[in-house]
């Protein structure tokens, strides 16, 4: 037998709910937030201290990411804690990020992640750090984190009012509410300012100018109050929850708070206020929008409304869109059905006439919703308006009334002039025209006003009995009615006209979007840019989430090419719909008849019959209908994207054909080089060895030695060649990693000289005197040595006997210059720039006397990898060649003071 819920029943259910909530929270990781009023109060310090204490107790603690900002006392606390390596983001070290994958793999009991409000660099798994933390908690890892009060979403407005600084990195209150513990790190403002003066506070998010405004005693006091309040609220809530779970204490009757928003500029503000009211009362809250069909197609209005509703959901409230003609009826009906205690409305613009007849929303709610608590919030807009109203008389309406008066007077004068010619009844036509003019140009109230003025003028001056306001016959009464009718009809027409203007403007905006898109697409160089621009444009223009899918490399399966926002993911249904749209050249998913359970609308990208991909657009869940205008515009945009994609595809095909050709050429050149450089030493070795094997006994001692020497030296040549080949493949495949180390120039030159002496014992090497005063190079020693060796080997090969190869090194500015000078035949000017070119050296490998082999082209790659350059210059007096290596010096290390003190 169903029984009405008794108080007892309700309390039992509340208790069960509370317990369930507690259990759910305990299964996931626990979140502890160290909350401060401002930067510099010592949150990180407190967090680290707490973590050390836990570590001492044997808890497995890992520091995921902590910003010490160079504070020595904080850094000292890190000592002994396990630090998770940061994930290197592209670019400088300042952007190294928290490595969530490493954290999940490490899976400690507790992880410390500083700065909850941080925004990750683009390309990270999550956009925001709190999302990273959410994932950690989900994996059952406890998390300690820090945040300042100004980053709390619901306090965003208040903080701005207090400090004048709009904080962009906000954290949803819903996330903050998840924290099982919040620790307030409190520091009196005076001490904080003192710390600031001592330079102990690091302020990344505030510009220097904002800093002074921000760090005043009054600001800090206010922020401190906010922080204390936030923690106090939480403590209160925790207590209630605990009591509810234990079954002791009063079971809170949580009556709902409802805010009604209308999509005006105040909506967001209203949502935040409501959240705070509800929070203080520990009440659930809802934001309601009543769609009375009046808003029409106003895009701004729709955007504001969506933003406000989204904000409400982020702040932990629910949202509801009601449809009905009468706002008050709907609102009160909803409130009655849902156990609402309080209705929050903003003080909105009120029409004087409506106020006169008690027709404003506020008044009607007051009259009919007597059993609800009604909170009317003075919104910033309303406050600003009332202030304006006090300072100056409203201009626009007055001007309109003046205009109406002038037009009526003109009509009066004209009527007076025409009085002799026209009959009285015809004179009224003049006034009709006047009313018409006013109605078209102005609003309805003004039109009615002019109708009244015209009627009074007509009646007083022209209608018999003249100069009285007496209405003598029925036709005069009719005139009044006609004037009023004209005013009403015309102003209605005028309104529609302005609506049309509005629509025209919208069409203009659309044309603007298409134009901009066209320009950006035209500039896009590859498919990646096209999809990125397309996704971005669609996402911005329609306030939606957009993913562009293109056929991937494997079997044409669709893969994400671009997404805006990058975090957007597609469900299985979305993917299925995307495949369908791709294969049937028709839209699918939401707003269509195919797979409309999908959350996205999926449009195929087709150009000239070629299937190029699919665009997935996800609108807000509330947006159940898609206006035809939007539909058309989106289709126009996707068409443009498809065309641009087709264009880049063609360009890609051409480019890859060119690359293919180049690779072929290189392959052929390499093969011919291999056949020469590998085979000639092998031929010598095989031939010599075989001669020894077969005829060794018959040969002279000197002949045997000659053959043996040949085997050894050709073997060494082969070794060098293979080393070069290996180096080249390393360079060519981009797998080369520079293992930089500090090294002295003379050591590199030295080991090259020693190596060279083994191959060309007869070649002398001279080097310029003061090489040992040069600063150290920070390079990959083996690579630079190989490059220099190849150049010196080449020089030795071409040097006439008896003439030394000279090597000199000097510092020129922030560079080291190493010259290798030979007195060989020299290089023709037109070939100088080409000798380091791989094609040049490889292609002429088989023709040259010894062939430069791959040696010089490898130099180019190795030196280039260090940011240096190699060039060939004519020798002094036109004899021989100078090969010049230039290497940049990177921050000369301090000559170690540690080497100084005498024995």
């Amino acid at each position: 037998m169903p029984e009405a819920p008794t108080a007892d029943n309700r309390s039992r259910r509340a208790k069960a709910d509370a317990l369930l909530e507690q259990i759910e929270r305990e299964e996931a990781g626990q979140l502890k937030v160290f909350l401060g009023a401002a930067p510099g109060v010592g949150k990180t310090f407190a967090m680290l201290s707490a973590a050390r204490e836990l570590m001492r107790q044997g808890i497995d603690v890992v520091v995921g990411l902590v910003e010490t900002h160079g504070r020595a006392e904080t850094e000292a606390l890190l000592d002994g804690l396990e630090l998770l390596p940061r994930r290197a983001a592209t670019g400088d070290r300042a952007h190294d990020e928290f490595d969530i994958d490493a954290a999940l793999a490490r899976k400690p009991q507790l992880i410390l992640v500083d700065e909850l409000a941080h925004r990750n660099v683009s390309g990270s798994r999550h956009e925001r750090r709190y999302q990273d933390i959410e994932e950690l908690l989900g994996a059952g890892i406890d998390v300690y984190t820090t945040v300042n009060i100004q980053h709390l979403e619901s306090l965003n407005d208040v903080v701005q009012q207090i400090s004048g600084v709009r904080v962009r990195e906000t954290v949803p209150d819903a996330f903050f509410d998840r924290a099982s513990d919040v620790v307030l790190i409190d520091l009196p403002p005076r001490e904080l300012i003192a710390r600031l003066r001592q330079g102990k506070v690091y302020l990344p998010e505030l510009a220097a100018s904002a800093l002074e405004r921000f760090f005043t005693a009054s600001n800090l006091t206010a922020l401190r109050e906010l922080a204390v309040q936030a923690v106090a609220d939480r403590v209160d809530a925790d207590l209630r929850e605990y009591q509810a779970a234990q079954g002791s204490g009063p079971v809170p009757v949580r009556r709902r708070v409802v805010a009604a928003i209308d999509g005006s500029e105040n909506s967001e503000y209203l949502v935040r206020i409501t959240r705070r009211i509800a929070e203080r009362r520990h009440a659930p809250w809802t934001v309601v929008y009543v769609d009375a069909g009046r808003a029409g197609n106003d895009a701004d209005h729709r955007t504001r409304l969506d933003t406000a509703l989204r904000l409400a959901r982020r702040l932990g409230g629910t949202t509801e869109t009601l449809r009905g003609v009468d706002v008050v009826d709907e609102l009160l009906g909803y409130a009655g059905r849902n156990g609402v205690a309080t209705i929050v409305i903003g003080r909105t613009r009120e029409r004087p006439l409506a106020r006169l007849f008690n027709r404003t929303l506020t008044q009607q709610l007051l009259m009919r919703g007597a059993h609800f608590e009604l909170t009317i919030v003075a919104t910033p807009m309303a406050r600003a308006r009332s202030r304006r109203a006090l300072l100056q008389t409203p201009k626009a309406p007055l001007r309109d009334y003046g205009f109406a008066l002038v037009v009526s007077l003109v009509a009066l004068v004209l009527a007076h002039l025409a009085d002799r010619v026209l009959s009285v009844s015809n004179l009224s036509q003049l006034f009709t025209v006047a009313v018409l003019v006013v109605a078209v140009r102005s609003r309805m109230s003004v039109a009615v006003f002019s109708a009244i003025v015209c009627f009074l003028g007509y009646n007083f001056f022209f209608a018999p009995p003249r100069y009285t306001l007496v209405i003598a016959n029925g036709s005069d009464a009719l005139t009044v009615v006609l004037f009023l009718a004209t005013a009403l009809i015309c102003s209605r027409l005028a309104t529609r006209l302005s609506l049309q203007v509005q629509m025209l403007r919208e069409a203009n905006a659309h044309a603007g979007i298409l134009g901009r898109l066209g320009r950006e697409l035209a500039a896009a160089a590859d498919a990646g840019q096209v999809t990125a621009i397309g996704a971005k444009t669609l996402a911005q223009a329609f306030d939606a989430e957009v993913t562009v899918l293109t056929p991937g490399p494997d079997a044409g399966l669709l893969a994400t090419a671009a997404a805006a926002p990058p975090s957007m993911t597609l469900s299985t249904t979305d993917r299925a719909a995307a495949d369908w749209a791709m294969n049937h050249d028709q839209p699918a998913g939401r707003y269509t008849d195919t797979l409309n359970a999908a959350t996205c609308w999926l449009l195929p990208l087709i150009d000239d019959g070629a299937r190029l991909g699919v665009v997935a657009i996800r609108f807000e869940a509330e947006e159940t209908v898609l206006s035809s205008q939007r539909r058309d515009l989106i289709q126009a945009i996707t068409h443009d994207i498809a065309q641009a994609l087709a264009r880049t595809r063609l360009a890609d095909a051409l480019e890859s054909a060119r690359l293919q050709g180049e690779t072929e050429r290189l392959r052929a050149a390499l093969l011919s080089s291999v056949s020469h450089d590998l085979r000639s030493p092998l031929a010598v070795m095989l031939g010599s060895a075989e001669s020894l094997q077969r005829y060794g006994a018959r040969l002279e001692e000197t002949e045997r030695n000659e053959l043996l020497d040949g085997i050894v030296s050709e073997g060494q040549r082969l070794d060098r060649y293979i080393q070069n080949l290996l180096d080249m493949t390393r360079l060519g495949h981009g797998t080369l990693k520079l293992a930089r180390d500090w090294v002295a120039v003379d050591e590199i030159v030295g080991s090259c000289v020693l190596r060279l002496r083994k191959i060309f014992p007869e070649v002398r090497v001279e080097h310029g005197a003061p090489v040992d005063e040069l600063p150290l190079l920070y390079v990959h020693p083996a690579l630079i040595e190989q490059a220099l060796f190849n150049i010196m080997e080449n020089a030795a090969k071409f040097s006439p006997p008896g003439v030394p190869v000279r090597v000199s090194a000097e510092q020129v500015g922030q560079e080291i210059r190493i010259d290798v000078i030979d007195a060989g035949p020299g290089i023709p000017a037109e070939e100088r720039s080409r000798i380091f070119d791989m094609f040049y050296s490889v292609e002429r490998g088989d023709r040259g006397k010894h062939g430069t082999g791959l040696g010089l082209s490898i130099c180019q790659g190795m030196i280039g990898a260090h940011g240096g350059s190699v060039e060939a210059l004519p020798g002094e007096g036109g004899v021989g060649t100078v090969i010049r290596i230039t290497l940049p010096l990177s921050g000369v290390p301090m000559p170690a003071a540690a080497t100084e003190d005498e024995v």
Binding site: D741, G750, P781, A896, A898, E902
Partner: protein, 230 residues
């Protein structure tokens, strides 16, 4: 243990041809040789036969050469000469830091191998660490902390003397950068190779030695330094 007879050189390489030519050339120089084609075999031989020195290839079929080295070093200080391919610079440094006494890069000359083996055997034969280096021009006396060049006493700053002393104690053998840095500056300075470069540069200048034509201190590119008496 086989007891009497001269100790052998254990050659560990999985390539038969290399083992063979090493055996031939070493026997020609008067050494007894043992050969192993795998890490396990090498460890067994090293433990059961009288082995004076191990020539160890780092690329072995059954276990990493580094692992063989580690297991050898668990119980013996016998000299180990590591063979490595050119492409693996880091490998040889690792092996040296892990206790190998010297290295050779493949391909190598037989003559050079012989010279290295002689140095290692000499060092392991004399139980005491050399305290004096004297080649007629340069004389370093570690006990008295004195350095004489061409008869004249030269004063070296402490660090430079310590580097020289370290090289003298291991004369003929390669000392890695890491070993020098850890010994002289401490483990926390193991990355600060520029300390070492500057100190070596100054030491060479004081000794009148040149990197491009070294008389005493030879650079082993990417690995370390070696003191050789000319």
């Amino acid at each position: 243990m086989t007891g009497a007879g001269p100790a052998s050189i254990l050659i560990v390489d999985d390539e038969r041809q290399i083992r063979r030519f090493l055996e031939i050339s070493l026997q020609a120089q008067g050494y007894e040789t043992l050969s192993a084609a795998s890490g396990a075999e090498a460890l067994t031989l090293a433990a059961t036969r009288r082995v004076a020195l191990v020539v160890l290839d780092l690329g072995l079929p059954d276990m990493d050469g580094q692992e063989v080295l580690r297991r050898l070093r668990e119980w013996t200080a016998m000299p180990v000469l590591v063979l490595s391919a050119r492409a693996h610079e880091a490998e040889k440094v690792r092996a040296l830091d892990a206790g190998a006494n010297d290295y050779l890069v493949k391909p190598f000359g037989v003559e050079e191998l012989g010279a290295r083996i002689r140095v290692l055997l000499r060092a392991s034969a004399s139980p005491t660490v050399p305290v004096v280096f004297d080649d007629g021009r340069l004389r370093v006396d570690l006990a008295r902390r004195e350095v004489h060049l061409d008869g004249a006493t030269i004063a070296l700053p402490r660090k430079e003397f310590e580097i020289l002393a370290l090289l003298v104690r291991n004369q003929g053998m390669v000392i890695t950068q890491r070993q020098i840095l850890v010994e002289l500056w401490g483990a926390e300075h193991v990355e600060d190779t520029h300390y070492l470069r500057v100190a070596i540069g100054r030491l060479r200048r004081r000794l009148g030695d040149e990197a491009s034509a070294p008389r005493w201190i030879h650079t082993e590119p990417g690995v370390g330094y070696r003191l050789i008496s000319p």
